[in-house]
Structures are given as C-alpha cells and as structure tokens.
Symmetry: C2
Subunit: 189 residues, 2 copies
DNA sequence: TGGGATTGCCTAAAAGCTTTAGGCAAGTCG
DNA sequence: CGACTTGCCTAAAGCTTTTAGGCAATCCCA
C-alpha cells in the first residue's frame, strides 16, 4: 500500500481549505480522512484529537492574517494605515470565510499567548501611533478598533447587510471615515 | 408510565438554560432528553430536528433581548438611550452567554425576517433620532452601532480583555463616550 | 546489501449524537 | 365505555470521535 505522506502541517492546510469550502464548524477529522482517501484512525497518528486540528487551523489563519496585515501596514500611517489594515481583515474574511471563523476560535490562554494574535494587537497599537492618544485611551481605542472590525465583518458575513441599501461597501468606507474622525478627536474622560 | 408533558416551548426554555450552563454549541437533543429523563427519540415528536431546537432557542433569545432593550429605551433619548441600549446587550451577554450566542445563530432569511431581529434594528434607528443624521448616514451609523456592540461583547466574552488593564468596564464606558461623540459629529462624505 | 528498528496506515471496536419507523398505552371525547 | 389521538417507547441505521493493537513499508546502519 502506498503511503499518503500525511503530516500535521499538510492536514492543517487541507483543513483550512475544507473550512473555506464547507464552514469551519463542519471541519471534521472524518471528512479530512475522506479527502486523503485514508482511514480515519490514521489521522490520529498526526493529530491528538479534533480539537488540535481546529486549534492548528486557527493558528494558521491568525498567522496568515497577521502577515497580510503587516504587509498592508508597511509604509503607511494615519488613516491610510487604518483603512489598509481594516481592509485586510474584511477581504480575508470574504475570501476565506472558514479560515476567518477559525481565527475566531476560542484558544486556551497559553496557546493564544503564543499565537499571532499578539502581533495583531501590536499592529493595532502601531496604527494608533498616527493619532494622538496616550494610555489608557490608547487601549480603549485598540479595543474599539478590534470590536468594529470583528463586529462588522461578522455581521456582513452573516448576511446582515446584504440585499439592503446602501450597500455594505459604502457603509464600510463611511464607518472607517467615522473611526478616523473619532480617533483624531478622542473625547476627554 | 407517567408522561413528561413535553412541548416545543418547554424544550426551548430548557434548551436556553442548558445553553447558558454548557454553551450553545453543546446544546444537544440527547442532553435535553437526559434532563427530562426521557428517551431521545421522544423529543422528535416535538422538534423536527436539532436545527429546529437551536433556531427556537435563537428566536427566544432575540425576543428576550428585544424586550429588555425596549424597556431600557423607554423614556430615554440621546446618549442616555445609547448607553442604556448598549448596556442591555452587554449585560445580557454576561448573564446569559449561551442565549447570547444563540442570538447570533445564523437564521435562514425568512425566519430572520419574522424574528425579533427586526425590532432590534428599529430600536437602533430610534436611538439615532437623538442625533442629527439623515440617510444614508443613518444606515451607516446603525451598522456601526451593531458592529461595535456585537464585536465588543463577543471579544469580551471570549476573554479578550480580561486580566489586562484598564479593565473592560472602563473601556466600555469610554467607547460609548467615543461613539456618542462620533454620532454628534458624523463626518461629511 | 541485508536486517533491525521505526513509522505509517490499517482493522476493530466502543461510545455518543441524530434521525426514522413502528408500537403500545395513557389520556380524551362522544 | 369504547374509539381515537397523542406521547413516549424500543429498535435500528448512519455518522463522528477516539483508543488499541497489528502488519508492512521505509529508513539506516553495519
């Protein structure tokens, strides 16, 4: 019998593709085995359990997203950086819905601390350098940006804004305008 | 044998409680049967399938949330209304995490159109009456508010802001301040 | 190059969830 | 009181996860 040459990395990548095709919550060890034309139990030599598979996909997605965000941020500042960064999230979620859902998978604290999630937070803070905010307002602003990006993308992905005018594209642009204005004129406590 | 007196409503309520205890994604027809000390198959006389159970719990949560929001909004306007409304979401999510997750369950379009989700949108628009926004900016603002509330609550529930200062309470207050300011000074296109 | 050790995928099996089919008895109503 | 309806039951199939143990392919070293 020919060996399939499975590795955790290969399985993770295939799992990510599967997630984009059928949704992250339908990613299953069984389905993955089917795709590699291999018996289910075989995968358990490479993965501790299905939780590990999901965690690995989540980490992959966080890395990819952080890489793209870092690219987008290079050489930009102020509103330009804000927009570029936000667009990376939105585009990634639209082109890779399963991976995006994976990136929102609840990781245990230690894993999260090792993940690219940390880079995301650092980049968000970097964007705020273009605005005149000091602690603790900077942290509040980081949380606001995280909430808006995540919230908007999630609602859009859930179909919340489809088939209604004005279209989502326009709202997104105007919301970024509003955020930029908010950051420039952050209210005193 | 004594009949358990099951009804879809009773099962839905029990399912909602179960969701708050163990998480919405762990709500299962089997577990529910166990709680009523009844065989699993029996529940299928009252529920079409497990999807219907989840949908019903989602609708229940949306109703409860809309009722509370309506209460909170009564007699308030402007920032007062904004804060009260936002706090309802956040408090509901914290006291009923399973139900809140259920409220975010993806409903098919027809079901969604019948749901209390419509009231949520109407109430968000009502809040904006206290601000000077005309279409299409009003719609953009509705989407911004929805994104922030949902996004913040979700991140907070995921533990994103715990064990870090400043505490979440303070960020929430300052973010609502910022949103209020943003709505009062909505940037021109 | 041959043989031992390792590794990779296999079969088998248990346990849990979902869903359907068909049956009997409890409650209801004329 | 008997017939009808309804509610919960047993049975069973199909899917997923996970563990245990086995054989064969590959690797590596003498």
């Amino acid at each position: 019998m020919v060996r399939a040459g499975l590795t955790p990395e290969l399985l993770t990548r295939a799992g990510a593709e599967l997630a984009d095709e059928v949704g992250f919550d339908r990613v299953t060890v069984s389905e993955l085995a089917r795709r590699f034309d291999v018996k289910v139990a075989s995968l358990y030599s490479h993965l501790k359990n299905s939780q590990e598979l999901k965690t690995r996909i989540a980490l992959l997605a966080l890395e990819e997203l952080a890489d793209r965000a870092a690219d987008a941020l290079a050489g930009r500042a102020g509103k330009d950086a804000l927009t570029a960064f936000a667009d990376v999230y939105r585009d990634y979620a639209r082109t890779h819905p399963g991976r995006y859902a994976a990136a929102r998978f609840r990781l245990d604290p230690e894993t999260a601390a090792q993940s690219a999630g940390v880079r995301h937070a650092q980049m968000t803070r970097a964007i705020l350098r273009g605005y005149d905010l000091t602690e603790p307002d900077q942290t509040h602003a980081v949380r606001l940006l995280g909430s808006v990006f995540h919230g908007y993308v999630d609602l859009e992905l859930a179909g919340g804004f489809s088939h209604s005018s004005p279209d989502s594209e326009e709202s997104w642009a105007r919301i970024l305008d509003a955020l930029d204005a908010t950051l420039r004129n952050w209210p005193q406590a």
